[in-house]
Every structure is written in C-alpha cells, then in structure tokens.
C-alpha cells in the first residue's frame, strides 16, 4: 500500500498552511495536559450520556465513541469544492429516486439495469406513482468522503436512508469550545451550531400543506436503538416532540399524536425508523415500532415522511457504482466528486478480476453497513481471504470490490502521543423545498488503531471535530 497522505504534515513532512498554528500549539503543549483534557472530554461525554449501543454485545450495552481532541482542518477552498460536489450528488440522488418511482427513464435508457431496481430489497413497489412534496425524497443525506492526496476527494458511500452521526458533529464542537478556547482564538472556524436551525427549516419547508405552523416530530424506535441518544438530542435542539410509534395513530388518513390534551395532528415526521418497520399494515406485519395505517396517510398526502419511503433504492453499494452515470444522465454534468473505482461482482468479468486480486482489494456487502461483513484484503491473512472467497462465490451479486485506498491521515492523540491515523468525513446535506443547506464540515471519523482503515464506530473507530477555516 502506498504511503498515506497526512493532512498536517503532507507526504514529505512539510506542514501544510492550514495546520501551521495547530502544529505549533501541539508542539508546545505538554503531553500530560493533552491527556488530562482527553479524560475530561470522556468524563463529559459519559456524564451527558452520549453513548451508543453495539448490536450483538452483551453487557456493554452503552459505549462511548472515542473522541479525539485534535481537530481535523479543511480550508475554505477545499470545503467550497466539496460542498458543490455534494450538492450535485444529492440533487442527482433525488432525481434518480423520483424517476425510479415514476417514469423509469433511466431504466428505459439502459443506464441502470432493471434488476438492480426491481430486485432490490430496498425498492418499495408501494412508492410507485406516489407523489411526494416538492419531488424531494432524500431530505437528509450523509455522504461519506475519503481523501488520498491534497487534491483528490472521493465519495465512498451515499447514505440516503437515515444517516446518523450529526449529534457527534455538534457535541464534538461544543466540547472543543469548552476544553480548548485558546485554539479557537487562534483560528477562524466556521460554526456548525446552526445545523439544528437548518434542519428545522428544512423539515418545515416539507409540510404537505401550507398555511398553519406545521407540527414536526422525530420518530424513534426507542431507547434501545443504537442512535437513540442522537434522536433525543435532535428533538431537544429542534424543540420538537420525540415520538415512538405507539404515540401516534392514524384516523381518516391523518396522523395524530396522543397528548395530555387529546389528539394533535402531525404534519412532518422525521423518522429514524427503517422502511420495513414503519407500518405493520403495509410492511412487516410483526413490527411493533411503527404506526398502523401510516402509509395510507402518506399515500393520501396528509403527512410528509423524511426521508421518503424507498430511498434505499439509491444508496446501496451496487447502485453506487452507477452514480457517475446517474449524475450525467439527469444533470448533464460530469461528477464534481469522483467515485472510488468499483467492481460489481454481479458481473462475470468483474467477479473474475476480484477473485484474482482479493489480497489487494476491499470487498463489501451491497447492503452492509457499519463495517460489518467486509474484507480488507491487505489487512487479512490467507485463511480469512479464502473464507471470504467462498462467501463471495456463493452469492457474488451481494458484493462489490474497491481498491484499497491509502486514506489520508490526521494527527491523533494516542497512548504514545500524537500520531497519524486514517480518517474519513461524513458531511450532512439538507434538501428543503426552498434550498439545499450544508453546514461546513461534518463528522470526521478516525480509525484509532494504527494502520487500520475501518473508521466505523462499531469497529472501534473514533470521531474528531472538523474545522472549516473561514479564511
């Protein structure tokens, strides 16, 4: 694997301008002060209860995501480039989903294969011909970005269902402001705290009917969900009710919530619940987390669900590989942010290549997430690779493969002091009826283990505050 590009010290060791101040500061601050502040940060996180649950782990029901106190810095120019690419990407995602559920031009044009849509478990026949307000489907997107050198940013993954992590972006900044006020006095960092306002404005703009103040709620699966903290955090910041399925009911195709003063109409539901569980009358019959009849209210146009139902048809890893073509088809533009080259194992010649090059590739499940069920070729031993080979051969359509990218690194505080660790970036893109809003920065995830490329929190990854310098 080639030597990774470090965002502070570049490849040749010369400190890049955006990091000059930080680098000097890091050099001066004694290690024990940093250690102390890190412990303080951890204490605060634990105290506030910013925890997440890891599925399949007993006892360790609530864990902290490691927080790294060294910020990751992007320049204004870098950010401007990124945000243009993100906006373009989300626009194309929305047009693609609309098309897939209405005229299906892109299938007729033979650009995306039919079976990738119709046989996709995330495709919802129920959405066919369904009008959604303002033709917007993905109101809240999280696009994962990786970097390999000063100029190359790639989109690694689109998250068009219920992307999470934004609470960490906001809390990380709060903690940094509290622990390192001096650093903020030395830098002009673009604020992120307006995210909650932006989100509320976006959600309100999506109300199915104008006129009165729309009633916006956040729908959570409940306290056992791994992202529950985030759900309650957002409800708090937005000043809206955090509801569970049992708090809502549908009468005459209108959604109401049960309040101490009787039923109250609900207009916009920011749901953090998967499609499958939304409505036991339309989807999984055994779902107790959803709202019986919700889809009938949705189909009648009396409530907006964000994101729309069926957006998963646009964000699995097989569709991902078509994104550059999708962008060209709908917008007539070249993608501003390139994809990572991707082999689709469903195609025989791609599969052949992948099987021949397993030790150097990253292979992922089409519908996988959270870093589960993937193979990182260069980091695996022979036995692991052979085992994976069998899995891949048994169901090739379920996998894609990508070259192992030398993800950029950022200085990170570890046991032995400051050392480079691999990072990615998840900015959050809000699409309302009035405009697209992107808060500068996003969530930087960092692989805390030396050399590791897996940044997922479920695999021990941590997070960093992300700074976009205003000047």
């Amino acid at each position: 694997m080639p030597h990774a590009f470090d965002e502070m010290s570049s490849t040749d060791g010369a400190v890049r301008p955006a990091y000059e101040t930080l680098q000097r500061w890091l050099a001066e601050v004694p290690q024990d002060v940093l250690d102390h502040r890190r412990k303080e940060a951890e204490f605060i996180f634990r105290r506030i209860g910013i925890t997440f649950a890891v599925y399949g782990e007993q006892n360790a029901q609530e864990r902290l995501i490691p927080f790294d106190i060294v910020p990751r810095i992007l320049t204004k120019d870098e950010w401007t480039r990124l945000s243009r690419g993100l906006e373009q990407r989300v626009k194309a995602l929305n047009m693609y989903i609309k098309d897939v559920y209405s005229k299906r031009e892109i299938l007729k044009a033979g650009i995306v294969p039919e079976n990738l849509v119709y046989q996709n478990p995330a495709f919802r026949p129920e959405m066919n011909g369904q009008r959604v307000p303002h033709d917007l489907y993905v109101h809240i997107a999280g696009i994962d970005i990786v970097r390999t050198d000063p100029d190359k940013f790639y989109v690694l993954e689109d998250n068009a269902r219920t992307p999470s992590g934004v609470s960490y972006m906001l809390e990380n900044r709060e903690i940094m402001l509290r622990l390192f006020p001096e650093l903020f006095s030395m830098h002009r960092v673009a604020p992120v705290e307006n995210y909650a306002d932006d989100l509320l404005a976006t959600l309100r703009s999506l109300s199915p009917h104008g006129g009165h103040e729309p009633n916006v709620v956040i729908l959570t699966p409940g306290i056992h969900n791994s992202a529950y903290y985030e759900h309650s955090f957002l409800a708090d910041k937005l000043g809206v009710d955090l509801v569970e399925g049992r708090d809502l009911f549908v009468k005459d195709a209108v959604v109401y919530m049960r309040t101490t003063e009787g039923p109250k109409r609900v207009d916009v539901i920011y749901r953090r619940l998967d499609d499958d569980f939304l409505d036991p009358l339309a989807f999984r019959r055994d779902s107790v987390l959803g709202v019986p009849g919700l889809m009938s209210a949705y189909q009648a146009g009396n409530v907006t669900l964000t994101n729309a139902v069926g957006t998963g048809v646009a964000d699995d890893k097989a569709v991902y590989s078509y994104m550059p073509d999708i962008i060209k088809f709908y917008l007539g533009e070249e993608p501003l942010l390139p994809n990572v080259p991707t082999w689709r194992c469903r195609e025989a010649d791609h599969l052949k290549y992948v099987l021949e090059h397993l030790p150097e590739l990253v292979v992922k499940e089409v519908h996988g997430s959270g870093g589960y069920g993937m193979l990182v070729g260069p980091a695996s031993d022979k036995a692991q690779i052979e085992k994976f080979r069998d899995k891949l051969k048994a169901d090739p359509a379920n996998f894609i493969a990508q070259p192992t990218l030398a993800l950029s690194t950022c200085p990170t505080l570890v046991e032995k002091g400051i050392a480079p660790r691999h990072v990615d970036l998840r900015p959050f893109i809000l699409s309302g009826s009035d405009k697209v809003r992107i808060v500068p920065g996003g969530l930087t995830r960092v692989a805390m283990k030396e050399g590791s490329l897996v940044v997922n929190s479920s695999q021990g990854g941590g997070t960093k505050d992300t700074w976009v310098l205003d000047a």
Binding site: R47, Y228, R258, T260
Partner: protein, 316 residues
C-alpha cells in the same frame, strides 16, 4: 405534551420516591432490629419491612414464610434483587430508563442526577453488604432523591411536565406513608396493653423516623410521643410534608394547575379535591372512632383510584 412523556415523568418521580422510601424502611428496620427486645426491638422487624414495602408475595415466593424473614434476605431483596420489581436497584433502573426516553422533557440537571446515580449504583457490590456498606448505600439513595427533588424544584419549567412529575411523587409518597401506617397501625391503637411503656416509645419513634419526622414531631406538638399525635402528624397535619393531607394539598393543586392550563377538568381533579376535603374535615378522634385501620385501607384504595384516573385522563 405527549401522553407518553407525561407518563414517563410521572413514573420517573414515583420510582425515585419509592427508592427513597425503601431506603428509609431499611434504615429504621435495621435500627429497631439492633434495639434490645426489652426496649421494643423485636425479631419480626424484617417481616414488617417487607410488608411495608408491599412486596410480601414476591418475597415469600423466594424466601419462604414471612415470619422467618432474615435480615440479609430482606436487605438484599428490598435493595438489590432484580427479581423484585420494586427493589431500590430496579427503581433506579426504571427511573433511568424513563428518564432516557424523555430526555428532552428533563433539564440537564435532573438527567445528571439520575444518570450519575445509575452509574454510581454499579459501584455497590451485588453480594450481601456489610453494615457499613449498607449505611453508605442507604445514604446514597436518600441523597439521590434529595438531589433529584432539588434539581426538579430549581430547574424545571413550571408547566404541565412539572405538575405531572410532582403529582407522581406526591401520589407515591402518600401511598408510602399510608403503608407504613397500615403495617404499624396496631401499635398506635390506645387499647394496647402496655401503653406508654418504653416498648411503645421505640415503636412510635421508629414510625416517625421512617418518615424523617421525629424532630418535626417535637417542634409541632412540644409534647412527648403519643400514638394519637403520631397518627395526627402523619395523616392530618399539613405542615408535615409526608402527611397524607400535605400530599393531597399538593396533589390537588398540581392537578388544578394542569386543568387550568388545559382549560378542562375531569375525574382526577374531582377525586383529589374530595380526598383533600375529607382529610381537612376529619379530626384524629373521628378517625380513631371509626377505626384507624379501616380509614387507612380506604385511603390506600382511593389513592390507587386517583392514580388510575390520572392515567386514564392524561397518560394514555
């Protein structure tokens, strides 16, 4: 507000109150159990602790007959056991679960108390505690409820959420006081043979202690401890925050506040007011004449009825 949110707030405070009450019961039982028998100590203090906590059936199912209840079993059952749905540990667990699901309706100070207590709880070992450890544990529980009440009082907006939270606590508190009286009513009855003897003094004092009212008693009555005065203090005296009358004073007011904000009142307001009127109009002599036991039993069932009415009217 969401019915579920109100419901969670209401139960959150009930569980905190219940934990506090259990801690006091254990405290007093321990004290009585170490008092020599000639001074009113008895061997069945532990069984009456279980009775007062209202979980006799569960206890008997696990440890056999109540009369043979042993200290270590009762302590572990009331304080720690997860099989006992109202053990202190479970109260804190449920309180925190409720708090987590209504994070947005709590102030950060209130959440902090509950969450810290829940974290702290894990520092107490699951085995039988030494007497020292037990004392520290009980102090921790009482302090948590004090901090929680304080945080609620000092930081929470005075709106429906606050009133639901307070109503839960008051309802639970009234229930707890009534239970203590229900289990111990016989020592307060005047026809008991060695009335006024040292035995009774310790029993009466222990009742007062279990609601932290021994000092208050002297301030209020400026008299030696007498059974009818103990009953008066715990049932009718509105100055005493744990008395039934004080709880209903506060309950009726909280429920009226809710009704006036919502512009509508219902069965729970009527029930609370009727009960407050009864507590106001009766004298302790009336109560002793018609039967202390009957009065308390009726109160407990009426108090439960009010709980059901609040649930029906607002929380579902």
């Amino acid at each position: 507000m969401l019915s579920r949110t109100a419901d969670n707030l209401y139960w959150l405070t009930r569980y905190v109150e219940r934990a506090d009450c259990l801690a006091r019961i254990l405290d007093v039982s321990q004290r009585l159990a170490y008092t020599p028998v000639t001074y009113g100590g008895s061997t069945n203090e532990w069984s009456s602790a279980v009775l007062t906590a209202g979980c006799a059936d569960e206890f008997v199912a696990r440890y056999g007959p109540l009369e043979e209840a042993k200290e270590e079993n009762v302590v572990s059952f009331l304080a720690f056991e997860s099989e006992n749905p109202s053990s202190i540990r479970n109260c804190f667990e449920v309180a925190r679960t409720n708090a987590r699901s209504v994070r947005t309706a709590l102030t950060s100070e209130m959440w902090d108390v509950i969450n810290s207590a829940w974290i702290e709880l894990r520092n107490f070992p699951n085995r039988a505690l030494t007497r020292d450890e037990l004392s520290r544990f009980l102090a921790f529980v009482k302090e948590t409820s004090l901090r929680f009440d304080g945080a609620t009082f000092r930081t929470m907006l005075r709106n429906d959420g606050y009133w639901f939270a307070r109503s839960g606590a008051q309802l639970e508190r009234a229930d707890n006081t009534a239970r203590i009286l229900d289990v111990k009513y016989h020592v307060l009855l005047p026809e008991k043979e060695h009335i006024g003897g040292p035995l009774d003094y310790f029993q009466w004092a222990s009742i007062l202690r279990s609601v932290s009212a021994l000092t208050a008693f002297h301030w209020v009555y400026r008299d030696s401890v007498k059974p009818w005065l103990v009953a008066d203090l715990l049932i009718l005296n509105r100055q005493m925050p744990r008395s039934l009358a004080a709880c209903y004073d506060s309950l009726a007011r909280n429920l009226d506040d809710i009704a006036s904000v919502y512009g509508r009142q219902g069965p729970s307001q009527r029930q609370a007011r009727a009960m407050l009127a009864r507590l106001t109009n009766k004298s302790i002599d009336d109560i002793f004449q018609t039967g202390l036991h009957e009065f308390i039993s009726e109160f407990i069932s009426d108090n439960n009825k009010l709980g059901a009415e609040i649930t029906e009217q607002y929380l579902t």
